[in-house]
Symmetry: T
Subunit: 70 residues, 12 copies
């Protein structure tokens, strides 16, 4: 029988000048430096910041789920 | 006159092999071990994990509201 | 080229007996005492608590976005 | 041919210290004392009120549908 | 200068065996028999009840807005 | 142990030529004249009516929660 | 006592050059040719396809609910 | 291979004293007088304005999609 | 490295005269008779059908996720 | 009988260092300089931009409705 | 005049260890093996499964629309 | 002190036979040819058009925010 577990959910916004895929990796790497037991990520939003008519930054809002030590 | 208070909101996902009501208790007990001043909980989502055609786990996503010490 | 940054998002509920604008200030002041690098706030919800037929408290739910140190 | 009927929809919030199922019954019993012709109920929200680190109250928000006398 | 007014909002579900347009009329006629000062109606939902493979009833959920006497 | 209570939820739309804060007060005053046991209000929507290029009216849609006598 | 039943829900998109009411009938007729035990339909979306500045097609997205044989 | 195209989306609200179908036609005719390359319309909302207890106007909110000249 | 898998999602509505927990079991049992490889279920909606002022039936709308054979 | 009218809906984001009420006025004044026949405004979102731990700007997203000349 | 057509909508979840674009291709290939007449796909959700602090799987939830043979 | 600015929000749908990233670039390039002062873009929807069982076109719906000259 599976034991009783509790996970926490936190939202982060990661950005990269390269693209959305890279912004997701930036977010995952930063989160996994501080949080152990990450089980999943959900992409909530994808935005682009524009400056002087150029794409400056790709921003993703991510929901990060990680298991809490019991 | 009521004083100026601030509370924080955090989401957790709690699971139990028994049922949703038990999963809610698991989540509340784990949260109240770390957080003082919990005032409320809101059930956001109810999922069931299935394994080899059997119900393995009841999972609830809970929003937990707790008062921040001023 | 903009560098790779990560911000976190957290929800708070701030209350004041005076009004919504004041409740927003209460929330911002409390958040900025603990969190450095706040970049933005979004008003998610506006509620009023009523007691003995009088407005007792204005409550705002705020989403606070703050940059994580890399 | 089915005749032309009109129903009304009203929201109630029912609470019980025992559990969500009981809170639903509390709500249904109170509604059916005042409203005749109830045809259906939809569970809109499930909250828990917490006091001094104990579950104080299970609250359900219910949508009640009842037929209006023509 | 416009004076201070308050309106109420109530939801009804009206049905007709003929069609959605007729169901809306059924709902409006029933509401306007009981409520004075109706200013507007919003169509929230359109459903069809089917019985023995035949369309039995067109049902519309309507939001009715009416001015409260001051 | 908290006793079993039931509250009702109703939506009103209150308007004022002065501002949103005043429209909320107009709505609360009108509601509390008819309803006893109001416990809370939630702001659902904020609109402005414009006439001949001037702001004519501030309108708020409010959800009013009040305890039903058992 | 009512027995234990299970229904399935499936979405279809039906189109007609005549109008929305006809598109709904087209969808219902097609569904009831393949599915027995249809109990209800919910209109999810209403679109119009335009071609060379003329209305070409009325499209409705319908949710069809039908009882599964036990 | 399909070429690279860009369309714009704009919302209009069209009204008619006759019915929703007519209001949709009013909206489409007005839009197609100003916009070339309309490809589609989506019905977002259906409201009725009521005056002295009579249906005065059927209003539809429409999303209009039209191809931009490259 | 995890291999490439595809799952399907289907919605069912299960009912029981006993309670929501039982309705969920009724739905799961019926689904697992026809579908192999069920991995998860999400509770989408909880309704109650009322008949002659008595609770007749508890109805749950469930989203069932099952792995497709490759 | 009311004549057939068409209105357009456009979203703007207005900002002010003073407060939300002022930001709404800024938005309305800018819109009414370019658009005649504005009939209404709906507040969609309220955000605050923060810079060096100070509230820099109040931003409101507004939906502006204006009648199109026939 | 366009003829009367009916399409069905079904949701699938496709996964790939490579990336979201690949997961979409995996889903489309699997769907087009079983379903003829696919006309469109809509990306509903993008998730990442994480295992031992590594990205294990990119998962996309897709809505697949396919024409039913009349 | 930041000055009072107003931006406009418009939705476009851009398509490319290559992929979503390219469709976003197509949309941004087309928009920045007509609109000066673009500050941001938000991805609202990602669809794929399929023709004779082949992916024909990647379509993205984008929200484009641009500053209005005062």
């Amino acid at each position: 029988m599976s034991e009783k577990r509790v996970a926490r959910v936190t939202d982060i916004i990661a950005s990269s000048p390269i693209g959305f895929d890279d912004a997701i990796k930036v977010g995952f790497e930063r989160a996994s430096r501080t949080l152990r037991g990450i089980t999943g990520i959900r992409v909530l939003e994808q935005r682009i910041a524009v400056d002087s008519n150029q794409i400056a930054e790709y921003r993703v809002r991510l929901e990060v789920i990680f298991i809490l030590e019991s």
